[in-house]
């Protein structure tokens, strides 16, 4: 199964786009789900991210890699409007995020997971997913308090949808557990389900495989591809596990000191001398 996946991705043809980036050939005629132009942010004079240009195709699985402290999570925080950029722009489906709040960015179709897991610990697994459905299956406060028919109908829909989403990772049986009491790997998977529940166009995964064993990582890799195929969305992931990145990502962007030093396919990145020097080279030395 996983071999099939790998071969499928390695055959994806990546083509250049005007913004000095590449996208999969199948997405070239669609509006890119994400486009950043000269994106940058300063913290007290320090440029944490500088002139960051990236285009992600409509159904691309992309990777964002780089040494520790390169600014990867900061990029996520810029894309999700946790931080307001100092320079440049973020476009989601061609719409500028300038001046929008985190909530508005979420409504435009951007969802994320967190490096340091941020679940709603005291709520159940199902309730966590239902928060993801907050803007998908709605009813007003009054219907809730008075238990109007709309409440029952929408609650049922929320429940069914939550269960359907949990089944992606086979987590239906955990629906009643308190989220904070789940094992680490399950918490990471729940974060992905919760993000998916918001019906995103672009899913940002911040180190989804952190703390997972090789078997779990393998499974996660298959699921990431499955999610993309099933939901027809784009996924951008930050990851240190190179087998996952090289195995599942079509386009890979390498960040160092807040700047993009390369974007290409897995093969191109592995062969790029600048990347090897900045990143893989160091790793080889450490291995010695």
């Amino acid at each position: 199964m996983s071999d099939q996946m790998k071969s499928k991705h390695s055959t994806t043809r990546m083509v250049p786009v005007p913004t000095n980036s590449i996208v999969p050939e199948r997405d070239v005629n669609a509006i890119p789900v994400l486009e950043t132009r000269h994106l940058g942010i300063e913290f007290g004079g320090l440029k944490a991210v500088d002139d960051f240009n990236l285009t992600i195709g409509k159904t691309e699985i992309a990777g964002l890699i780089g040494p520790n402290g390169a600014g990867k999570t900061t990029v996520f925080n810029l894309l999700t409007k946790v931080y307001e950029p100092t320079t440049g722009a973020v476009l989601i489906n061609g719409r500028d995020l300038h001046g929008l709040s985190i909530v508005q960015a979420s409504k435009l179709g951007i969802a994320r997971t967190f490096q340091n897991i941020r679940l709603f610990d005291k709520m159940t697994v199902e309730e966590n997913v239902r928060i993801g459905l907050h803007n998908q299956i709605k009813y007003d406060m009054l219907s809730g308090i008075l238990r109007l028919p709309r409440y029952w109908k929408q609650e049922k829909r929320q429940h069914e949808k939550a269960m359907e989403l949990l089944s992606i990772f086979g987590m239906q049986d955990l629906a009643d557990e308190e989220a904070g009491s789940l094992p680490y790997g399950a918490q990471r998977r729940l974060e992905i389900v919760r993000a998916l529940a918001t019906d995103p166009k672009l899913l940002l995964l911040d180190e989804p495989a952190a703390g997972m064993n090789p078997h779990e990582t393998e499974e996660l890799m298959e699921n990431i591809a499955k999610i993309r195929d099933q939901f027809k969305i784009a996924i951008l992931l930050i990851e240190h596990d190179m087998s996952l990145v090289m195995g599942v990502c079509e386009g890979i962007c390498v960040l160092n000191f807040g700047r993009v030093i390369a974007k290409g396919t897995a093969d191109e990145i592995q062969a790029n001398p600048v990347v090897i020097e900045a990143y893989l080279g160091k790793k080889k030395e450490a291995a010695k």
Partner: protein, 292 residues
């Protein structure tokens, strides 16, 4: 002339707020908690000094020193018993505990000293009146303002020059990193409470020298206003506490004089709300960025 009179009274009241605000601001900066009981430590300090002067026949300076010593021990004890077990807990839990502690102190004082207000005795602090032209200034006013300046300078020197002071600043910046650098965080927090509580004793004596009515609730309103002052100036900042305290004192006195006596407190709190709306980090505070 009335204007000048009010201004001087405002500066004096503001100086008391500033000294109390220091206790809040230091504890908030280092332990990241609102020590609700701080105002009541002031009250305890004032009562101890009162007992020293009235019952034990101590000279004023000795009475103040005893009050400072008792408050220091009290502050460190409160921190160790009630706050330390909650170092990792949510801020809501710590805040409720601090409110409980404030209530405990008030009710203990009620049991020990009774509900009847005590009249604070005259000392060298408030015994004479200085006349400059038509102005008459109480010695308490001058001593309060001077004490505020001395304390501010001493604290600034302490935090910037001494090893313990630098440790305090480290813990306030990043507790985890400070711990890794070998700084004893618990001891540093205890020290902060000790300094804050000793200052509270001084503030208590100064407060009761200017407004000589002492009862178990004496500390709570000045305490809350001083916290307002600390927020006004920018919580965590020592010069901010001074600036905020003095400004708030002046605003309160002028509000009472020119708007309405009954609405004095309301005006002070309205200032708090406006400040939080317009500049939540306070006048001299730095906005904090949450780590994601």
């Amino acid at each position: 002339m009335i204007f000048l009179d009010n201004l001087i009274n405002g500066l004096s009241l503001g100086s008391i707020y500033a000294i109390i605000a220091l206790g809040y601001t230091m504890v908030y900066g280092i332990a990241k908690m609102l020590n609700f009981a701080h105002g009541d430590v002031i009250m305890v300090g004032a009562y101890i000094a009162f007992c020293g002067l009235q019952y034990w026949g101590l000279p004023p300076v000795m009475a103040i020193l005893v009050a400072m010593a008792v408050c220091t021990v009290l502050g460190v004890t409160i921190e160790g018993l009630a706050y330390r077990p909650l170092r990792q807990a949510a801020s809501l839990a710590v805040l409720i505990t601090a409110i409980g502690m404030s209530y405990l102190l008030q009710n203990l004082a009620l049991m020990i000293w009774g509900a009847n207000p005590k009249s604070f005795p005259r000392t060298f602090i408030n015994s004479s009146i200085l006349r400059v032209g038509e102005l008459s200034i109480s010695s308490a006013t001058i001593i309060t303002i001077l004490a505020n300046i001395v304390i501010m300078v001493a604290l600034t020197l302490f935090t910037s020059k001494t090893k313990m002071g630098k440790a305090m600043r480290c813990v306030s910046e990043d507790r985890g990193a400070a711990e890794l650098m070998g700084i004893n965080v618990n001891r540093t927090i205890s020290l902060t409470f000790a300094i804050g509580s000793a200052l509270a004793a001084i503030a208590g004596v100064l407060l009761c020298s200017s407004y000589p009515i002492l009862q178990p609730t004496t500390g709570s309103m000045p305490g809350i206003k001083a916290f307002t002052a600390a927020v006004f100036g920018g919580i965590g900042s020592i010069p901010g506490a001074m600036l905020g305290g003095v400004l708030l004192g002046v605003i309160e006195i002028f509000g009472k004089a020119y708007i309405s006596t009954e609405l004095g407190d309301a005006i002070v709190f309205a200032v708090l709300i406006v400040v939080l709306l317009v500049k939540p980090a306070g006048l001299l505070g730095k906005p904090v960025r949450e780590k994601v």
